[in-house]
């Protein structure tokens, strides 16, 4: 089936999956029934809500693990604290690398904040895109790869290039409803 229509951002399902797996670790180190329920709710949100919710889920999960760590310290439970701190660090690192949180420094405090949107296309302005497109240099394929490509039969791709497409498919280049 061919298609055309509005194209949203990439779905990034694997980010939701990894976050869910990490929230299972959070669930495993909770020490109260209420905290366990909170962790379950966050995991459920990661697995079912739109991707745009993941930054909020990450920030809430970090707050929960921080609370768990403090609670364990107050109770003198160093074994629980060690496990919870490790999970918190893992969650934090993933959040940063997946672009779910950004680290901000305010009044001598370092905090994690959720990214406003996971759709970079929406986050980046047109002006930024234009600047990037103009100023970012292109990088040619490495010589070895280019030589290998040129060794291919001339016209290898010709049958599937745009001009060679069957008339039936060429029609969809400008369907009426897209103007």
């Amino acid at each position: 089936m061919g298609s055309s229509g509005t194209v949203p951002g990439m779905t990034r399902q694997y980010v939701a999956g990894e976050l869910s797996a990490l929230l299972a670790h959070v669930q495993a180190v909770t020490t109260t029934e209420e905290a366990g329920q909170d962790a379950w709710s966050l995991r459920h949100a990661a697995e079912t809500e739109p991707i745009q919710v993941l930054p909020w889920v990450t920030v809430q999960a970090l707050a929960l693990t921080e609370w768990l760590c403090r609670d364990s310290l107050n109770r003198g439970d160093t074994a629980a604290f060690t496990r919870q701190a490790a999970v918190c660090a893992e969650l934090h690192e993933f959040g940063v690398c997946a672009g779910l949180i950004v680290i901000v420094q305010r009044e001598d405090k370092v905090m994690a904040e959720g990214q406003e949107s996971q759709d970079s296309g929406a986050r980046v302005s047109e002006a930024q895109i234009a600047v990037h497109w103009r100023e970012e240099q292109t990088c040619p394929p490495p010589p070895g790869v280019r030589r290998a490509g040129q060794r291919g039969r001339p016209g290898h791709l010709r049958p599937v290039q745009r001009g060679a497409l069957p008339r039936l498919l060429r029609r969809v280049r400008r369907p009426a409803h897209l103007g």
Binding site: M1, S4, A16, E18, A21, A122, H132
Partner: protein
């Protein structure tokens, strides 16, 4: 693929039908074809997470045997037939690929749920897809620990039941055959160990069912915008042709390559570019069980060196993590990538340059791809060796796809400005979505 099927009809553009009237079997194209021509060639290399465990090489002949035997179990023990639906909730093990291919052999529609998801999430997807069968595994390794996975099957069955879908049978692969890794009991009459069922089906051969090209091959769930995941249906002929074509032209996969996509088969990337695309081309595909940075940031590069990986495929999130934990690790190892892919999200130019210079050692071409679960395969990408790469920008529309760029007012603008809003074209892998 059957001869004489290179035609399509269009009764309602742009809703094309691909290879209408043609019949094929995805399992045959991915396994039998190569097992006949090159039986000893390695189809799958399984890398267990524990570094002390040996890699497992599965030849195309061996893969054919395993797929046939499991297909016999599914048909004879469960009564599955073409058009039935089965949910899989499995980790990154070769048994997952075998299960998918066995389903495809019978024309059974598989719906793999990411193994890291909870049992409840799996249950919702079972209910949505109407699957009466769940196939799972007792445990798997993650970050060095053998995780109890079977416990999630019980949760999944309960969650599905709450939504009105009863699960009649649960098949449980054992991570270590003969040893049960879960603390949860097997439910009498419902749960069965796959290795015990297989023992009665040794050497069985199941003829691949010739499926209409438009018949569903699998379901894949993706987050929607409504707070409930939506199921995407991918058809057999169009999907297989598209992922095979993009694997050939954009992943530059040749039969002699060792190809490693470090994604999870639970996502569309894994379906398209770990299982169906590479196997349809008869190459060797790597399945890695665990997390990339276990036990340290050098693990992926040690695997690449040991296996002679020539094509590497991963996500920007994984690249950022590997860069963070070991920015200079890649140079310690003697692997050589010819081609690398980044997929799933935009990559910053700075991270792209590290990927290019450190991971690729400046010698590999990078394709930065853009696509979605609903599409089934790449929509935007550079052609390796033929088109220049721009750090931080995915490539142009792939062959047959014409991206359209609009500014914020909805006016069409040239490349280099605006935001991608629409794609025109007739890619054959586009799925049909179920929105509930």
């Amino acid at each position: 693929m059957s001869r004489g099927t290179q035609r399509w009809i269009s009764s309602d553009p742009p809703f094309w039908k691909w290879f209408a009237g043609g019949r094929l079997n995805a399992s045959f194209n991915c396994v039998d074809w190569h097992a006949g021509a090159n039986p000893g060639k390695t189809a799958i290399i399984f890398v267990p997470e524990l570094e002390s465990d040996e890699h497992v090489h599965i030849s195309y002949a061996e893969l054919l045997r395993q797929v046939n035997e499991l297909a016999a179990v599914l048909r004879d023990c469960l009564g599955l037939k073409a058009g039935d639906r089965v949910t899989l909730h499995m980790p990154m093990v070769p048994e997952l690929a075998v299960t998918m291919l066995a389903c495809a052999r019978l024309g059974v529609i598989h719906s793999q749920v990411f193994g890291g998801f909870s049992g409840t999430a799996c249950g919702h997807r079972i209910a949505d897809s109407g699957s009466p069968i769940l196939i799972t595994m007792d445990g798997y390794y993650r970050a060095g620990q053998l995780t109890d996975h079977k416990v999630k099957a019980d949760e999944a069955v309960a969650a599905a039941s709450q939504e009105g879908q009863e699960v009649d049978k649960v098949l449980v692969w054992r991570r270590h055959p003969g040893q049960y890794a879960s603390g949860t009991p097997m439910a009498e009459g419902r749960d069965f160990f796959v290795d015990e069922l297989l023992a009665d089906h040794k050497g069985r051969v199941v003829e691949p069912v010739q499926m209409p090209a438009e018949a569903p091959l699998f379901l894949m769930y993706t987050s929607g915008t409504t707070g409930r995941p939506k199921g995407c249906v991918h058809s057999t002929g169009g999907y297989l042709a598209y992922v095979t074509g993009t694997s050939k032209y954009y992943q530059d996969i040749h039969p002699g390559d060792v190809y490693w996509c470090m994604a999870d088969i639970g996502w569309i990337t894994g379906h398209s570019y770990i299982v169906y695309g590479p196997l349809a081309l008869g190459t060797t595909t790597v399945i890695y069980e665990g997390v990339p940075n276990y036990p340290d940031g050098g693990r992926p590069w040690r695997i690449a060196e040991k296996l002679g990986v020539s094509i590497f495929h991963t996500s920007p999130t994984a690249i950022r993590r590997l860069r963070k934990v070991g920015p200079e690790e890649p140079r310690k190892y003697g692997y050589h990538f010819r081609h690398m892919t980044t997929v799933g999200e935009p990559i910053e130019p700075e991270v792209w340059r590290w990927y290019h210079s450190e991971v690729g050692k400046g010698q590999a071409v990078i394709v930065d791809t853009w696509w979605q679960t609903e599409n089934g395969g790449f929509l935007c990408s550079t052609l390796p060796a033929l088109q220049p790469m721009k750090p931080g920008s995915c490539g142009p529309g792939v062959l047959g796809v014409y991206p359209v760029i609009y500014d914020e007012d909805g006016t069409e603008v040239p490349a280099g400005s605006g935001i991608l809003r629409r794609a025109r074209g007739t890619w054959s892998a586009a799925g049909q979505s179920w929105l509930r």
